[in-house]
Amino acid sequence: GESVGLHLPTLSVQEGDNSIINCAYSNSASDYFIWYKQESGKGPQFIIDIRSNMDKRQGQRVTVLLNKTVKHLSLQIAATQPGDSAVYFCAEIEGAQKLVFGQGTRLTINP
């Protein structure tokens, strides 16, 4: 069946560097994508979203890029800080209601 997936389960970066977390999706009908951050012991928290009529969206220190041609989504975190350590999930909304998640990438920050 169609699903949302992630390329890498873990990512380790140096503090201050930029982080890039990737996500592949297979449902070409999806038109809304969301990135979530989950810290230890907490539920996922919304970071940023993007709709399929956009290629790029920027927030505070975060940028989401959408490449519909290759069905690829990425989350870029600028100047990574220790507080960015978490598991990051991409998710898509199917049929305006059902929210489907990928497996997640654990981001670890090295001092």
């Binding site: 979530y36 539920g43 996922p44 919304f46 305006a96 209601q97 998640f101």
Partner: protein
């Protein structure tokens, strides 16, 4: 701020018990979701509801049922708990076509 409240952070139940996990949201959201989260498997959708008394099966509904008698409350029921239902359970709510907000999670252990 949106608040999604799960009734318990930690639960320990015996095999064969009937278990109720309760979730309440205070933002008049139409959609509510129950996920389970296991290491390496990400968030898997158990059931979701897009209106009062309406429910849809997610990807892993077996062994679970749900109830939505009021818009703000969505209950997950384990009819006869088994050890393979030991997991972190996450509730979420959303407006139609918008990002979901999550509760803190309930860590259920079935012994």
């Amino acid at each position: 701020d949106v608040k999604v409240t799960q009734s318990s952070r930690y639960l320990v139940k015996r095999t064969g018990e009937k278990v109720f996990l309760e979730c309440v949201q205070d933002m008049d959201h139409e959609n509510m979701f129950w996920y389970r989260q296991d290491p390496g498997l990400g968030l898997r959708l158990i059931y979701f509801s897009y209106d009062v008394k309406m429910k849809e099966k997610g990807d892993i509904p077996e062994g679970y049922s749900v109830s939505r008698e009021k818009k703000e409350r969505f209950s997950l029921i384990l009819e006869s708990a088994s050890t393979n239902q030991t997991s972190m359970y996450l509730c979420a709510s959303s407006l139609q076509g918008a990002e979901a907000f999550f509760g803190q999670g309930t860590r259920l252990t079935v012994v």
